[in-house]
């Protein structure tokens, strides 16, 4: 038997970074794999059981590999307005905003959440993807010259835990000293005895919170959550959950070769703010669009599978078996004319043409 196993089973020569929770993952028997330079838990009990634990109850993910950049100073807002695609002037104190970081040609460097933190002066925290963190920070620092700002890589200051699922909020509330922030809001609270930045955001399509604490407090918070019955969840289920919810994954659905309009992220691009990349996107008429799809018969789509439509060819960027829908699902760039809901498409899965259709976002939504 061969396939993609060797990559996960082989030992790697490179030195992998470990989060503050590494020993806990190992002690619990998690399968640990290299991911974006980190040794991360890909699964504990099993991806399907973990996926359903988040949809039905609550699960916690160690996402400490994600990076953080802090921007402060008098020009902080003007600076981020220039670099991030969304309208940062609309971001209220204690609120969260999604945006993309573009190159001048509109290619996507990363997709990010930015929080405007309370304080005496302007203070923003931007969360980066682990695989892009160093490039993002370098890009921001390089563009900071003409602004009166301080851009600081603060990734080492934080461990990050995502608690997600219909029971997540209530469980965290039992460990916290005050009211929790609503969806797309953030607040500083004491959680499990430690100061925490609590954010009403996530990557699963469920209600939930993302909690940033100093790395030395991560273990106690993790233990407290598990003691409350929250299930530990690996990166494999994180991927199936986000794909059912149709959230983009950088490196799969987003890249330097695609711009945010093609990727369906035009809603997060406010061209009038004049951000880097806006000129390239103005008047841009996409030939392709990223669409969610589901198989109408057997098979599982995988990244890179060619797509055939009546209007031309496309390509799968993300694919998996949906644990909730129990069919193959994915996202693909297809010609705009084939992007209409319900359009029948075919996915070439290693030589077998599998029937699928373009579906609405999200592919799965919790009925409760």
């Amino acid at each position: 038997m061969t396939g993609s196993l060797p990559a996960t089973l082989s030992s790697t020569a490179e030195t992998l970074r470990r989060t503050a929770l590494y020993d806990r993952h190992a002690a619990r028997g998690a399968r640990l794999v290299p991911f974006a330079g980190w040794e991360m838990p890909v699964q504990y009990e099993g991806v399907i059981a973990e996926h359903k634990a988040v949809r039905e109850r609550a699960g916690v993910f160690d996402v400490s590999h994600m990076g953080q950049v802090e921007t402060t100073g008098p020009d902080a807002e003007a600076f981020l307005q220039r670099l991030l695609s969304n309208d940062i002037s609309k971001l209220a104190e204690g609120a969260a905003q999604y945006s993309v970081l573009c190159r001048g040609d509109g290619g996507v460097l990363d997709d990010l959440f930015t929080y405007r933190l309370p304080g005496d002066g302007p203070r923003f925290l931007t969360v980066t993807n682990a695989s892009n963190h160093e490039r993002d920070y370098a890009w921001l620092a390089e563009h900071a010259d003409r602004f009166d700002v301080t851009v600081t890589d603060v990734a080492d200051r934080y461990a990050m835990l995502a608690v997600q699922g219909p029971g997540a909020r209530q469980t965290v509330a039992e460990l916290a000293d005050g009211e929790l922030p609503a969806r797309m809001r953030t607040a500083t609270r004491t959680v499990a005895g430690a100061e925490a930045l609590v954010c009403g955001t996530g990557y699963t399509g469920e209600d939930g919170l993302e909690i940033l604490v100093a790395p030395e407090h991560a273990g106690a918070l993790w233990d407290a959550l598990l003691a409350e019955g929250v299930a530990p969840i690996g990166l494999a289920a994180r991927d199936t959950l986000r794909l059912e919810a149709c959230f983009h994954l950088y490196g799969d659905d987003l890249s330097l070769d695609r711009n945010p309009i093609e990727a369906g992220l035009g809603w997060a691009c406010k061209l009038e703010t004049g951000f880097v990349g806006a000129d390239a996107l103005r008047g841009f008429e996409p030939k392709d669009k990223l669409v969610p799809f589901a198989f109408t018969g057997p098979g599982i789509p995988r990244q890179g599978n060619p797509v055939q439509t009546e209007h031309g060819e496309g390509v799968v960027t993300s694919g998996t078996m949906s644990p909730c829908l129990e069919v193959g699902i994915g996202m693909a760039y297809v010609p705009v004319a084939a992007a209409e809901l319900g359009t029948p498409i075919q996915v070439d899965v290693r030589g077998k043409l599998r029937d699928a259709e373009v579906r609405a976002k999200p592919l799965y939504k919790n009925p409760s």
């Binding site: 993609s4 494999a236 644990p323």
Partner: protein, 127 residues
């Protein structure tokens, strides 16, 4: 199920097993293979009548994350496929040496059996 490697099977280094019964052999994947793969969620059986060749792939099994080729431990013609795996691919995990079997093959060269590993040699390979 717990890790196990039955004494009465012959093993291929690509983590496949064969149960020899005269000139017909049943093929499947080992405990190690199903554990490494994770929960099997899709198996597309080959056609009855197809020819399989020792050391070549004859099917794919898919977990949520990955696709893996399944190798033929011996050569011959497929005489039966485990159709139940289409609806219940998880049997590959639950019972890899029983209900999780994949194909039955009429052997074209029974002499190839001598090239396979016994359980001791296969276990040595895993350590």
């Amino acid at each position: 199920m717990a890790e196990s490697y039955p004494e009465d099977l012959s093993y291929h280094p690509e983590h496949d097993w064969a149960r020899i019964d005269g000139d017909v052999a049943t093929f499947g994947v080992t405990w190690y293979a199903q554990d490494a793969l994770g929960e099997v969620v899709f198996y597309d059986p080959p056609e009855v009548g197809a020819t399989v060749t020792k050391d070549q792939t004859y099917a794919e099994v898919e977990s949520v994350k990955a696709v893996s080729d399944v190798f033929a431990p011996l050569s011959g013609e497929i005489v039966e496929v485990n159709g139940a795996l289409a609806d219940s691919p998880e049997k590959v995990n639950q019972d890899p040496y029983g209900e999780g079997w994949m194909v039955k093959v009429r052997l074209s060269d029974p002499g190839e059996v001598g090239t396979l590993l016994d359980v001791g040699a296969y276990r040595d390979l895993l350590t």
